[in-house]
Amino acid sequence: MSNHLSSEQFAKCFAGEYTGAELQHIRECSSCSSELNRLGNVFSAFRNALRDRIDNRVASQTPGSFQFPVEASVARPKWREVLAIAAVVLLGTFPFFMSEMKTDEALDKASTKASADALMDAINLHLSRTIPSPMEPVIFLIPTEKSPGNLGGVQ
């Protein structure tokens, strides 16, 4: 191989994919072999610089700086507990509310019945009157058989 390695051949050789002829050329051609070495040194410097940068960055951070994720299965029982407590409270207080509601209904019914009786009494009283209600104050002035005649005034 009289010419130098092509760009493709050079890249393949650098990646380790060389043919016998290419390997022979690298051994014989100081230009190509030194260029391979130079590129290798550049990549090595790049790797070391990158490693230094990240190592310094990580070293400057506190060891426990990684925020460990809270797993859903760990968080779930807390919600379950809260829901269970709420359910127990609701179930516990429900009968109390129901009994309160029943008592109120009974009182309402009783008061309704009492008021209805009172109304009927008032109606009966009104109907059983012998005189109209506007005349009631005057009725006491009218003499009856029970009252003696001295009510009639001065004789």
Binding site: F10, A11, L39, V42, F43, F46, L50, D52, V58
Partner: protein, 189 residues
């Protein structure tokens, strides 16, 4: 001795791998640097890289029971990270108005002073910055394959596992990435 999926920091038992990674805090400590490095080199934004790395470990934690030990923990985490980076890139593609936003220029870390002259150091810093810029111009797959190979030091079969590509496709993307970067580096090499 029980068979393990990796010889890394956390050995995963083939018999019950899900149980072996219960110690998730330890896993985060040991792999966070590597995941963050890959994500940062992929998205070129440190704040975003931190967020995506956090998401990566969160996803891994939620799906830890599904991990069967068919690959190493590192490969498994990188697979999650690659998907997150891809999802982020896709979501940004439709948010075209974001291009108008001010994007903070994220410079690469300078080459540490390791007994080289200031001139040499300046030259190396230029080369590093040139590679940094060149990786931005690569396609998403080319960049991923390049970073996994030359920054994370993964072998081709591991890259294939992480990306879900075949080994030959990985090689094709790798060669294209090297060509693209070399072309952009130009005189820096």
């Amino acid at each position: 001795m029980k068979p393990t999926a990796t010889t890394g920091f956390i050995a995963v038992s083939m018999e019950n791998p899900a149980l072996e990674i219960e110690d998730f805090e330890r896993l985060v400590q040991q792999y966070r640097t590597r995941v963050l490095r890959f994500v940062f080199a992929s998205v070129h934004d440190m704040d975003l890289a931190e967020t995506l790395t956090q998401d990566c470990f969160w996803k891994a934690y939620r799906n830890r029971k599904a991990f069967r030990g068919h690959c190493s923990v590192h490969t498994w985490l990188l697979k999650i990270a690659i998907n997150l980076v891809r999802d982020h890139a896709r979501s940004r593609r439709f948010q075209f108005w974001r291009k108008a936003e001010h994007v903070e220029r994220q410079e690469m870390h300078e080459w540490p002073d390791r007994g080289i002259s200031p001139e040499e150091r300046a030259a190396v810093n230029q080369q590093i910055q040139a590679v940094w810029e060149a990786t931005k111009a690569l396609s998403e797959r080319q960049r991923t394959v390049f970073l996994l190979r030359y920054v994370e030091d993964l072998e081709i079969p591991e890259i294939a596992q992480s990306t879900g590509l075949t080994a030959s496709t990985v090689n094709v993307h790798l060669v294209r990435a090297i060509r693209g970067i070399r072309k952009r580096l130009g005189d820096f090499v």
